[in-house]
Each structure stands twice: as C-alpha cells, then as structure tokens.
C-alpha cells in the first residue's frame, strides 16, 4: 500500500520573477524529498479564493523524471532503499495529481461547487476550505468536492458539528489535516492540536487524511513519522497509518472516477497513435491493466530510471477525453463518424507518453503504431460512450466498428483473416480498449445484455456467472475482425449461440481461476496471435477447435454445435473486439472446467503451427501485460485451435490482474521474457490492487488448484 501526500502547495507562477523561480525549485525539492522518503503519490495543491474564473483551469505542470534526476542524480538508490524499508514495491510508479482548494466565504460561492463546473473538472482532486459556518455546512451536505480542508492553525471561525461531520462522511468526503502546522511554529502547534483533536475524536479516524502542506522542504516528514504524529493527536497507530495510505488511495480512486467517468460510469479514453500495438491483446487486456488511480502522464516509473532518458521509454498514458464537451457537440440526429472526427480533432491529442503499466519491453514496437491510431478512434469512443448506456449497444457497436474500421474491413474481406501488417492489428487493437473501457464501465452498472456489454463484463461474468452473458461474450468474442488474434477466434460464439453456451458458460461460473485462466490465456493468446494473423485457414480451424474446446468442458455437444453456428455468424460481424472479450470469457469458463490438462492441448496445437518470428515479436509486445503462466504446458495437451488460445489469452489479459507475477510462467518463447519484463515493470502483485472490487467479483474457490495457481490466487486476493 503506497503512501500519499495530497497537499504540496503550488504557487501560480505565471509571472516569471524571482519569487516564482524560487517557488518552482522549492516544489521540485519537495517532490524529490517526498519521493525519496518513500511516498508513492503527491498532489500539487493550488489555492484560490472565492469565485472561479476560466483562467483557473488547471495549468499545473507535472514534473518529469528527467527534471528530478537533474537535481538529484542518485535518486533511485535512495528511493529503493526507503521503499524497501517501508514495504512499498520498488516498481510502483510515483504519481502526481493536481488539486484545487477553494476558499469559500459566501453561499453563492458554495453554489458553484457542483459537478457541472468545468473548471473543477480540470483538476484531479477538488478541496474546499470553508471560512464560515454556512460555508462549512454547505460543504458537508451539498458540495461536490472530495476534501474538506480546514485550517486548524488559527482559531476556528466556525464550530464543528457532529451531524454535519457525519453527513459529510456519509457522502464520502474526506477531512484533511495538515501536519506542517505542527512543525513550523510552536503557537500554531498548540492551536492545531486542540482544534484537530475534536475532529479526530468524532470521526475516529474515518475519512481522515493527513497531508503536509509543506511550505518548504524542511517540513516534509516520512510516512512513519507522520503516522506517529497522528497518534499524538489521538488516533491509534493503525488508523493513523491508514490515514496516509488507504484513505488517500480511496480518495484518489473516487476523485479520479468523478473526473474521468461520465456520470460515474463511462470512461472515454483517447487511444494514442503512438500506442504500441497490443494487436494481440484486445483492448480488454488494456483494461485489465487499468490502473484506477493512475495519474496519467504524472506517473513516473522509477525502475526505468536508467532508461528514462531513452526515447523509447515513454510512459504510456491513456488520454481521457473530456466527455462532456464532446457530448455537447454531438449532433442530435445521431452518430456521424465524420462529425466526430472533425469535432474531436481539436480535443484529441495523441499523448506522447504511453501508459506506464503497459510499458512494453520491446521499444521498437512503440514506434510502429504511432501512425495508426487516429482521432477516429477517439470520436468513436465518444460515441460509444454515449451509446453504451443504451441496451442496443451490441448492434450499434458492431456497426460502428464496421464503419470506422474500413481499412480493417477491407483487409478482412480480402483475406478474411490474414493480417500482413502489424499495423492493422494495432489499429483494431487500439479500437478495442476504448470500447472495452467504456463497456466495462457500463456493464458494471447496467445489466446490458448485448454482446458488447458482455465483453466488458468479463470480470462480472465470472462472478455473476450468468450464462446468457457468457454466451453473448462468446459470440462477441468470436466475431472476428481482421486485427490480430481476433480473427483466429472468429467462430465461437455469435450472439445467437447463447442458449447452447449456457451450459458451457457455467464453467465460467468458476470464476475462481480467473487469474489462472488469464495466465493461461496469455500464453495461448500469445501463441495464437501469430498464428491467427498469418493464417487465413485458421479461421476454419478455429471454429473447429473452439467447438472442440467446448467439449472439453463437459458441456456436451450442444456447445460444439453452437460454436459452429456461431462461427459462421461470427464471421459476419466485424466486431473482433467483442470477440476477443467474449472468447476470453469463454475460454475462461472452459478452462476452469477443464483444468490444466486441457490447456496443454492448446499449447500443442499452437506449437504445431508455424509462428513467424516477426509476428511473435509483435504479439509478444501485446502480451506484455500478462505473465505467461504455466498455461504453456497446459496448452500443449489440448488440441484447441490457436484461435481459442487467442481467446484465452484475451480473456486472460482482461482478467488478469495487473500485478500478476509474470515470473511464474514457464513460457519458453520470447513472449514470456518480454511479458515477464513488462510485467515487472508495471508493478508487482504486491502493489495496491488495480481492481478494488476484485474480491467480490471473483469468488475464489480454493479447491482444485495447483500450488502455482493458488499462489496466483493468493496474490489476486491480496487486496
């Protein structure tokens, strides 16, 4: 669990005079000191008073690793030393957030603090500092803020009332206590302790966060020391430690969800053109790697310090589109791709950095994909997001896909499977994450029955184990689009195969092994990818194999038949993205039922096929996220088509927890190496979990697992 310091003062430094330069260097020094002491995240706090104007939009420049290293060249050794002592994983990224604190006097100013305020949206965290009783009451009860920050160093201008505090806690607002007041001045110390004690007694440490608000670098203290200071104020050590780690983390999750998700549900992400192609892994895989408290470009990966200056090493961030503004521009008569492209052209910026946790070991691949993503995808996303909530998304999405991925379609039609270029893979691949992300979000909230949603719900499916969903997933997953391995999956399940899939899906009920499956899938996926890409004939094989696969699960022939039926249907739709997810879910279910032995069949099947080296390479990059678990040996035994493997991999990618340890895999192929590398780069399993709901989504049955799997599961449930 990482430690956060949510309040590092930032002075607006537009006039470049001496004071501002000093302020800038102070800020950098504070950041360096915080990083050195083992903090994993900080937030730059800008304070404004009263009314906000448009000029107040967030303009806080995030510091880059190079600027930090310029001042403290030996930062990494110190950071590692402290992190080891604190128990923080070495490779967890150092995050930077932006925060705004608004000092509120009057009721009219309080009214401005709602979710519709565009200025507030530009900051990651929003805090309010009430200056009188009315403002405090309003803040506790009605304002849409994340933090209520009270200045305890002077006599409080208002009274803290228990019902107000209770109301605020109920709404999920955090109270902030800044500890630098204790350090700076003796008089302030006195006031601060007496004021804060009351708050702490009433809240008992719940929804309390400690932060520094350090005016200079001498006021920053290490996490353990801060916890001890908190216990001085009356908290138990456990609560105190939580106040600087767990509470901060949940605050950040909440704040980022508010910022990035439309109506708390849909996340629109712009896929950058420089994103390395995960053509192998569908966007669902990206979603698996989704870091709920990622600060986008602010994430600094520390274990790549040596490479931080290399051009290859770009941390990949997913740009989040300002959904609201785009929605406003959308034509009322419906989705028009052209409109979206032009409309979002300006708002879309292909980020130069890539998501840090999807960092690819293979830097060369990063460049290949740069040209492929266009704003089309961005616009697509927007539209998808808006549609996501509708229940008819399935068909729409497919349609959208077909419309927008014309190139893919062409290639698809021509070869019907073959992807000669990595590019196309990438393109399609890029497409998926967008949808996937949105879909995932949507699915979580709505019970949409369409395939697309099903895809998103990979995780949910497992937990809920609704057969219908699974079927849909299978169908969607199998819809092959030209890109990447999806093609190999084509057959499988079209939406129509639902009924037959039910039984099959029940296997999926054993969500338990999601991670295992994921691991397996990764392996399979990886291996499948090259196959699918190059081998048109695979399509047929795939369908057969998928059916074979279905059998494995003791689901009976019905599945097989359904699979075959689905195959034909799958081809029609171009929704490879869905297919990927579906397949993965399916595969998961299958795998669960089958056990390890079956996977081996897959592996063997895969091995039989010739895998072009370059494809493997490209695939390997995609597979990065996931460790290739022991699935390899398992796969060998199964005679499942590579497509299935792809599915599996996809599912695995999706389902796979971010922190899965790649080292467990015994994948002999280069993929494993790469994936292991990348995996380690992302953050290890011991890191704060990417999926806060994972425990509830995947009820783990501890029955039939090999030690390896149980290890993995333990890691998964380590939340």
């Amino acid at each position: 669990m990482g430690f956060f310091d949510i309040n590092i003062p930032y002075a607006d430094s537009t006039p470049a005079n001496k004071a501002n330069i000093a302020a800038k260097s102070t800020r950098i020094k504070i950041v360096i000191k915080a990083m050195e002491m083992g903090y994993t995240g900080i937030a730059y706090n800008r304070t404004i008073r009263g009314v906000m104007s448009d000029r107040d939009r967030c303009s806080i420049p995030l510091l880059s690793l190079s600027s930090l290293l310029n001042i403290a060249p030996f930062l990494s050794s110190s950071v590692n030393f402290h992190r080891d002592l604190l128990g923080v994983p070495r490779s967890s990224p150092f995050r930077q957030y932006t925060r705004l604190t608004i000092c509120i006097d009057t009721a009219s100013q309080s009214q401005a603090l709602n979710s519709g305020n565009p200025v507030l949206k530009t900051y990651d965290i929003v805090a309010v500092r009430p200056l009188n009783q009315n403002a405090f009451d309003h803040a506790c009860e009605k304002s849409e803020v994340d933090i209520i920050s009270i200045d305890f160093s002077d006599k409080l201008p208002f009274r803290l009332k228990l019902p107000m505090i209770k109301a605020a806690i109920k709404r999920g607002i955090y109270f902030e206590i800044t500890y630098s007041d204790l350090i700076v001045d003796v008089q302030q110390r006195r006031q601060m302790i007496s004021n804060a004690k009351l708050l702490l007694d009433w809240t008992r440490g719940k929804n309390i966060i400690f932060s520094s608000a350090a005016p200079s670098v001498c006021e920053v203290r290490g996490p353990n020391d801060v916890a001890n200071l908190a216990s001085l104020l009356g908290l138990s050590m456990e609560r105190a430690k939580a106040a600087i780690s767990k509470n901060c983390r949940s605050l950040l999750t909440k704040a980022l969800r508010r910022k990035h998700f439309f109506k708390e549900v849909i996340r629109v992400e712009a896929v950058s053109s420089s994103q390395p192609s995960d053509s192998e892994a569908p966007w669902s895989a990206d979603w698996l790697k989704w870091d709920p408290i990622s600060s986008g470009e602010g994430d600094l990966l520390l274990d790549d310090m040596a490479k931080s200056f290399a051009s290859n090493n770009v941390s990949r961030t997913v740009k989040v589109i300002d959904f609201d503004s785009i929605i406003d521009k959308m034509p009322s008569h419906g989705f028009q791709v052209k409109d979206m492209i032009s409309g979002t052209e300006t708002s879309f910026r292909s980020p130069e950095k890539v998501k840090s946790f999807i960092d690819r070991g293979d830097a060369s691949l990063d460049n290949t994909f740069s040209k492929h993503l266009t704003s089309v995808f961005g616009s697509q996303e927007v539209d998808l997001a808006s549609n996501a909530r509708k229940t008819s998304t399935g068909s729409e999405e497919v349609m959208i896909n077909t419309v927008t991925t014309e190139e893919e379609l062409e290639s698809y039609n021509a070869s019907n499977v073959v992807f000669a270029s990595v590019e196309t893979e990438n393109q399609n691949h890029c497409l998926f994450p967008e949808k996937h992300n949105e879909q995932n979000v949507v699915v979580l909230d709505e019970n949409v029955s369409n395939c697309v949603n099903a895809v998103i719900r990979n995780e949910n499916v497992v937990s809920h184990q609704t057969s219908a969903m699974d079927i849909e997933l299978g169908a969607a997953a199998l819809e092959i689009s030209p890109p990447s391995e999806n093609n190999s999956l084509p057959p499988t399940q079209g939406g129509e195969c639902n009924s037959s899939k039910v039984s099959h899906v029940d296997l999926g009920a054993e969500t338990v092994k999601v991670d295992d499956i994921a691991v397996d899938m990764d392996m399979e996926d990886h291996e499948n990818a090259p196959l699918s890409l190059n081998n048109m004939a695979l399509l047929e094989n795939i369908s057969e194999r998928i059916s074979l696969r279905a059998f494995e699960d003791d689901a009976g022939t019905a599945d097989q038949i359904s699979l075959q039926q689905c195959d034909s249907e799958m081809r029609v739709t171009n929704d490879s993205w869905v297919a990927n997810h579906e397949n993965q879910v399916l595969v998961e279910g299958q795998k669960l039922a089958e056990g390890d032995g079956k996977m081996k069949d897959l592996a063997s099947v895969l091995n039989d096929e010739s895998l072009p080296e370059d494809v493997i390479e490209s695939e390997s990059t995609k597979v990065v996220h996931n460790s290739f678990p022991k699935s390899n040996p398992k796969m060998k035994t199964k005679g499942i088509s590579s497509s299935i493997i792809n599915e599996v991999r996809e599912v695995a990618l999706e389902m796979k927890e971010h922190g899965e340890d790649g080292s467990k895999t015994k994948d002999p192929t280069p993929v494993q190496r790469i994936s292991g590398k990348s995996r380690r780069r992302h953050g290890n399993p011991r890191q704060a979990p990417s999926f806060p709901l994972r425990l509830s989504l995947y009820p783990v049955s501890f029955k039939r697992r090999t030690t390896q799997k149980s290890e993995r599961r333990v890691k998964m449930t380590e939340l």
Partner: protein
Amino acid sequence: MVGFKNRYMVMEVMLDPNKEISGDDPVVITQFNISKAIKDSILINFGECGLASSIGSFQVKYVNPITKLCVIRATRDEYQKIWSSITLVRSIGNCPVIFNLLDLSGSMKACKNAALKCDELKFEQYKLMVGARLSVDVAQHMQNCLEKIKLLEH
C-alpha cells in the same frame, strides 16, 4: 524477566535538505548534539514532566556521521512521545534537519541487525554520490562504525 523495556529506533538524519545534494556537511552530527536537540524538543513539546519521564532511558546509542545514521534508545512507555519529539526537531545547531525513522525494534539484537543493514546500504549510496572522492579515511572510519554497531549493548 527483563527489567527495562526499551524501544530502539534506527533513524537517519537528513541534513539541510535545502542545499544541493553533494556538498559538504554543514554540521557534523555527534551523539551529543543529536541528544541535545531531541531533549530540547521534548522540553518544548512535553514540558518538564515529559522530559523527566523520558530522560531515564533515553540515550543516543550510536551515530555514524558519514551515513547520517543514528540509533536511539527510549523506554517503551514513552517512546511514542519521544519519537514525535524527534520528528518535530527542526534544526541541529543552525542547520535544518529532518529525522526519518527507518526501523523500530524492541530488542538490541534486532536493532543491531537493522542498523547494520541500513548502514551498509546507506554507505553504498554515499559512495555513489561521492564518486571518486572517496578517501581511505572515510572508508576506514566506516569500518570502525560498523564494528561499533556490533559491539552495541542495551
């Protein structure tokens, strides 16, 4: 069985965080000046009684001026107060400092192990920073300090 229950804190002293990283030390830390700074802090924050109840078992057992590591013993009943006071120390002499706790243990044995490990790691960092300027004296001094740790007693 054991009469005195103590807590041993391994702390690192960060001297003058404002200045550039690899300059010379503005003040050499010794057992005496650290102890004085902490006692002053206890007096300010916890008063005469606080100081009196803490001072019984309070001792700075070991200081390494090269790696800025120190080991402080405090009685188990008052260690949190003493720890808070240490955190609130702002300066030693006229040099601003930051104390950072690295390890807290209840026995001298565990403390010795932790201190040895931390010291060695910090020395590696020191060597990195100093680079080629590492003199034999410093290395020798370092060895002496490590020996001292091994000879620490409660």
